[in-house]
């Protein structure tokens, strides 16, 4: 068919079709608009002065753009000390992502490819542990950290690394075990026939073949820890030197008065890392979150 015949054939019916589908596009468009508007508003406000933010809505900028600048960003990083909180978030999140992922990888391999009595039963306990509310562990762990091998580690990175590692493990093992368990049996059987040890089979076969699942898990755990507020409130607590961004930001949102002009900029600084992760690795991110539907 040539372009001319398409155009000829389409013009009346195409228009009718477009009209018939207009409600569909309108409904979707309206939803997308509602979903985007809140973030756009904060983004615009992050470039406005305190006076402007409190005296007129951000949408007035769209018709009369003026007074937009980067002052809030430079202020928030220096005065509110959010720069160091940003680093704290990185210090907390990176080890709390790498360690549980590694631990989960060989535990998952044992669950998937080694036979031992009680394997099914033990794994069911693990499935139950995925949804256990963290609240049921705070008080005893807090007391344990008061005297952890002779030292009070409440408020330190060590405390929150340990907590996030343990909290992240059930889901991490679950995800990787399900993936590793679905790898073809023949691969491992032929490796064992060739004399490979389980260690070799794990490092040379299972790990490289599980990269997609590991990527999803790493992203899931990274975003989960980066966005966490509750665990930080409990185990970092009032120790302001070690607080992550979420904690600093929550107290900024809570305090009326002083911090208003910084809020929007601070929010964007906190959002930028998970948003970049989401935009650049969307496929893995969505897969990780979807698999996490058991976690809640």
């Amino acid at each position: 068919m040539t372009a001319a015949t398409i155009a000829q054939g389409e013009s009346p019916s195409h228009l009718r079709r477009l009209l018939r589908r207009a409600p569909l596009h309108l409904a979707l468009g309206a939803l997308l608009f509602i979903w985007l508007i809140p973030t756009i508003g904060v983004f615009i406000n992050s470039f406005r002065s305190a006076d402007a933010i409190t005296s007129s809505g951000w949408w007035t900028v769209l018709t009369a753009p003026s007074g937009l600048n980067l002052d809030n960003y430079s202020q928030v990083l220096s005065q509110e000390d959010l720069g160091s909180k940003f680093l704290n978030s990185l210090y907390i999140t990176i080890p709390a992502t790498i360690i549980p992922t590694m631990l989960a990888a060989f535990t998952a391999y044992a669950f998937a490819w080694m036979k031992f009595p009680g394997r099914t039963w033990l794994f069911l306990v693990l499935v139950a542990l995925i949804v256990i509310p963290l609240q049921t562990t705070f008080i005893p762990i807090g007391r344990m950290f008061n005297n952890f091998f002779g030292a009070n580690i409440n408020g330190t990175f060590l405390a929150i690394w340990l907590a996030h590692t343990a909290y992240g493990l059930p889901f991490a093992i679950y995800l990787l075990r399900n993936f590793m368990g679905s790898l073809p049996r023949e691969v491992f059987e032929s490796a064992y026939i060739d004399g490979a040890s389980p260690v070799t089979a794990f490092f040379r076969l299972a790990l490289p073949m599980s990269v997609p699942a590991i990527a999803s898990l790493v992203i899931f755990q990274f975003v989960f820890v980066w966005n966490d507020l509750l665990v930080a409130l409990i185990f970092i607590g009032p120790n302001t030197d070690n607080q992550p961004l979420t904690q600093a930001l929550a107290s900024l949102v809570n305090s009326y008065g002083s911090g208003w002009q910084y809020l929007a900029a601070a929010g964007f600084i906190a959002m930028i890392v998970p948003l970049l992760v989401f935009l650049s690795l969307q496929r893995f991110f969505v897969r990780g979150i979807s698999a996490g539907s058991v976690k809640g």
């Binding site: 997308l32 979903w35 631990l103 139950a128 005893p140 980066w226 929550a250 809640g296």
Partner: protein, 325 residues
Amino acid sequence: MDSRIITALEVVLVVPAVLVGYILATERLISLAQGKWRERIRPWLWLTPALVLLTAFLIVPTIQTVWYSFHNKDGTQWRGLDNYAWFLNGPGLASLVNNVLWVVFLTLGTILVGLAVAVLADRVRYESFAKSILFMPMAISGVCAALIWKFMYWYQVPGVPQTGVVNEVLTKAGQNPIPFLIDSDFKIDTFALIFIMIWMWTGFGTVILSASLKSISPELLEAARVDGATEWQVFRKITFPLLAPTIAVVSTTMIITGLKAFDLVYTLTANGSYDTQVIANEMYNQYFNFGQYGRGAAIAVVLLIAIIPVMLFNIRRFQFQEGIR
């Protein structure tokens, strides 16, 4: 250089090295054992680190929390069910009512809107773009969502230019602006918070439901249409029943999310002021602000009991999946 950078670097390098070293060392150890014992010991050595952590940080603490819940504020005296009685007669009932609202409306909202978008987006060319936009709030923290919506719900007294979008719309429509985050009439503030959570989680519902929707065979739907079924009948009689298991899965996630709601309440209504308190915030309050271990533990146990049905559902689902494998 900041000593914390060095500590963090050490942890990132040393701990993984230790873990790999551990696995290699176990293989050395196993090689000392006799033939069939090797296969028996190995799995347990591989499992030990994770089992130790899970036992020390999840299983034992949960048992201890149940024990604490029957004791006084610092765990020194047996108090029977006193803490539970206190909870139900004190802040408990209001928190439970709010949590029920959270669970019901969050689940309904995410599934209805999520399903609507999944069905609608299936028919347009910008489907993946639409889903990305909806999914984006999943990437940001509860605190950031709270901050974003604090601007949306911003209230100025009538007569002054409104600075929040929602109140601007209300004012333009001739209504009085509403102080959404402190107005407890008809639980407006709680619903305002729940709506933020729906905003955050709808993309999740959409993505999961959309994947399930695409697995329905188009021939089946076409056959029904050829037989004269209307679009609505096709949806109600074919699509919806086939989606039901997926809806159940999304529901369990949303139920847990609703029960565990904390960040938004902590950040936007000062940890549950103005009648917005929920279980998780009350637990934090008792434990952290008042040092009431017994009461805090009792609240945590209530939360655990509420989650047990979901736990059992997940176990059943897992057994089913393993069964058909």
